[in-house]
Amino acid sequence: MKKNPLSLQLNTDDFLPASEEEKQSLIIMRESVSFWKDSMRRLLKNKVAMVSLFFIILIMFFSFIVPSFYPYSYSQQQKGAENLFPMTYSKAEMERMEAGEKVFPHFLGTDKLGRDYAVRVMVGSRISLTVGLVAAVIILVIGSLYGSIAAFFGGWVDIIMMRIVDIIYTIPDVLLIVLLSFALKEPLNKLSERASFRWIGVVGPNLVSIFIVFALLYWVGMARIVRSQVLVLRESEYVTAARALGAGNGRIIRKHLLTNCIGTLIVTTTLQIPSSIFTESYLSFLGLGVAVPLPSLGSLASTAINGMATYPYLLIAPSVLISLIILSFNLFGDGLRDAFDPKMKK
C-alpha cells in the first residue's frame, strides 16, 4: 500500500502476526544463571582453590579412611621396634620377612614406644580435622542464632547482646582458652565416670573441653557478621518490595534473608576451620590438648622436639602436615569468598 509521507496513518505492516523466526529471536537464549550456579562456576575456575580442595580431600581420605584398614594402629606398641628409621624393620620383622611373610613397611619409622609413626600422624591429623570441623559447626550454630536474634529484635535486646559480644571480643582469647581447658579437664573426667556421660570418655575429656572452649568464646566473630548482614538486608529495598507485594515474614526470611546470608555464612565457617585447628594444635603443643595415647599433630611435634637431632622426621612430618592443612583451608576459604562475594575480592 502506498503511503502518503505526511499522513499520520499507521503502517499496517507493523501489526501483522509475528513469523516463527521472529518468535524464536525473542526467546531467551540462555537459562538465567542462579546464584549457586554462578558461584560454583567462579569457584571451579579458581585453580588455587581447587588445588586446595584436592589437598583437603586427600588429607581427609588419609586421616579418616586409611587408618581403618592400615596394618598398624596408633596405640599398638611393638616390642623391639622402637625408634626405627623410616623404611627400616625391626629384628623380629626381618625374621618374619626371611620366613617369606610380607611385612608392611614403616613409612615414617616408629616412635620410642615402638608405635608406627605414619599411622600416628594420620590419626593426629584426624583429630585436628575433627576439631576444626566440629568447632566450625558449633560456632556456626551459636553465632548465627545469636546474631540473627540480636538483629531481629533490635533495640534494647540488641544493645545488651552486642555489649556482651564486645566484652568477649576484648578478652584475650588464648589466655582464657588455656585457662579454661585447664580448669575443665578435671570436672569432665569426673563427669565421664557417670553412666549418662560415658560418651565424654569415648570422645576424650580434653577434646570435649576444647569444644566447650570454642563454643564459649569463638562464636562472637560469627555473631557480629551475621547481625550486620541481617541488619543491612532487613532494610534493603527488595525486602521492602517483597513486603509490599504481600510476602510474609516466613517467606522473606527464607527467600531473601537466608539466601543472601548463606554465602557469608559458608565463607566465615570455612575460614573458621583453620583457626580452630591452629588453636587446637597450640593447646596440644602446650600439653593441654588431647590425652595420651591419642596423638594430635601439636602433641606429636611437641614430643619430637626432644629427639630432633637424631629423629628430625618425627618433627618435620607433623609440622609440615599441620601447615599444609591450615594453608589449604585458608586458600580454599579465600576462593569461596571470591566466588560467593566478588565484591569482597581484593
Binding site: D166, I167, T170, I171, P172, V174, L175, L176, V178, L179, L180, F182, A183, E186, P187, K190, P274, F278, S281, Y282, F285, L286, G287, L288, G298, A301, S302, A304, I305, M308, A309, P312, L315, I316, S319, V320, I322, S323, I326, L327, N330, L331, K346
Partner: protein, 305 residues
C-alpha cells in the same frame, strides 16, 4: 571525644573485672585444692596452711579479699616457689618477655610495612607474586612449627645459633624470628591491600597532576593513609606476641613470663596462674584501649562506637 575515651575506658575496666572474676571462680572450680599434688600432709598442717592463705573461709569472702588485694597489686604468694610473691615473679620475668615481644613487634613492622609497599607498587609482577606466596604461607604456619623447625635447621643442623637461654644477642635471633613470623606475614598482606586501595584513590592522581614528585606523593599521601589499618593491628599483634611467647619461651627455654605461665599450669600453681592471667589480660586490654584511642585521634572519620 572525651565521652568516647571514658566509655572505652569503662569497657576496658569492666572486661578486666570480668576476666579477674572468671579466673578466680574457674580456679576454685578445679577439684582438688592447691595442696592436693603435694606429698601427704597432716590435717593439722593443712588446716594451718588453709588458715594462712584464707582458704578456710567461704568462697565469696575469699573472692572479695582476693579482688581487694589485686587492687593493691598483691596477687598473693606463689604456692610452688616458696617464699616468693606472685607479683615479684611477674615483675622479674615480664621484662624478659616484653623485651623479646617488643623487638618482635618492631621487626614485624619494619619488615612488614616496606615489603607490603613493595608488593603493592609492583602489582602483578613477579616480586609481588613471590611476596604474596611467602606471606600466605607465613600466615598458615603455626608458631610452634616455626620455632621447632628453625631450631632444628639453624640450631641443631647448621649450628649457627644457640638454642637454649638468652645471654648474647645471638640468642635473640631465633625467638624474635619465630615470634615475628606471623605478624610480619600478616602486616605484609594488610599493607599491600591497603596500599593498593590508596594508590587507586583520586587524591593520588590529583597530587601527581599537581606536579608532586612520585617520591613525595608516595610518602606524604599514600603511606600516611595506607598505614592506618596497621595501627588497628597493633593491639591484636601485641596480644599475639605476648601469648605466642608461651610456645616460643617453652621451646627455647627462655626465662620469661610465658614460659612461667605454662610451667605454673603444669605445676598447678593456682595463685601464679590467676596472677599471670589477670596481669596479662589487663595489659592486653589496655593496649587495645590505647590503640583504639590513638586510632580515633589519628583518623577522626572512623566511628568505632
Amino acid at each position: 571525644m572525651t565521652r568516647y575515651i571514658i566509655k572505652r575506658l569503662l569497657m576496658a575496666i569492666l572486661t578486666v573485672f570480668i576476666v579477674a572474676t572468671l579466673t578466680f571462680f574457674l580456679m576454685n572450680a578445679v577439684p582438688g585444692g592447691p595442696y592436693e599434688a603435694e606429698k601427704a600432709i597432716s590435717p593439722q598442717a593443712r588446716a594451718a596452711l588453709e588458715a594462712k592463705f584464707g582458704l578456710d573461709q567461704p568462697l565469696f569472702k575469699q573472692y572479695l579479699t582476693y579482688m581487694k588485694n589485686i587492687l593493691h597489686g598483691d596477687f598473693g604468694p606463689s604456692l610452688k616457689q616458696r617464699g616468693r610473691e606472685v607479683i615479684d615473679i611477674i615483675m622479674s620475668k615480664f621484662p624478659v618477655s616484653a623485651k623479646i615481644g617488643g623487638i618482635a613487634v618492631m621487626v614485624a613492622m619494619l619488615v612488614g610495612i616496606p615489603v607490603g609497599c613493595i608488593a603493592a607498587l609492583n602489582r602483578g609482577k613477579f616480586s609481588d607474586s613471590a611476596i604474596i606466596v611467602i606471606a600466605t604461607i607465613g600466615i598458615a604456619v603455626p608458631s610452634f612449627v616455626v620455632c621447632s623447625l628453625s631450631m632444628y635447621f639453624f640450631g641443631v643442623k647448621l649450628k649457627w645459633l644457640p638454642t637454649v637461654g638468652l645471654t648474647t644477642w645471638k640468642h635473640y635471633i631465633m625467638p624474635v624470628f619465630a615470634l615475628s613470623f606471623y605478624p610480619t606475614a600478616y602486616i605484609v598482606r594488610l599493607m599491600r591491600s591497603s596500599m593498593l586501595d590508596v594508590l587507586g584513590q583520586d587524591y593520588m592522581r590529583t597530587a601527581r597532576a599537581k606536579g608532586v614528585s612520585w617520591f613525595v606523593s608516595l610518602f606524604k599521601h599514600a603511606l600516611r593513609n595506607a598505614i592506618l589499618p596497621i595501627i588497628t593491628y597493633v593491639g591484636p599483634m601485641t596480644a599475639y606476641t605476648l601469648t605466642g611467647s608461651f610456645i616460643v619461651e617453652k621451646v627455647f627455654t627462655i626465662p620469661g613470663l610465658g614460659g612461667e605461665f605454662v610451667s605454673s599450669i603444669t605445676n598447678r600453681d593456682y595463685m601464679m596462674i590467676m596472677g599471670t592471667t589477670i596481669f596479662l589480660a589487663t595489659l592486653m586490654v589496655f593496649i587495645n584501649f590505647l590503640v583504639d584511642v590513638v586510632y580515633k585521634i589519628i583518623d577522626p572519620r572512623i566511628n568505632l562506637s
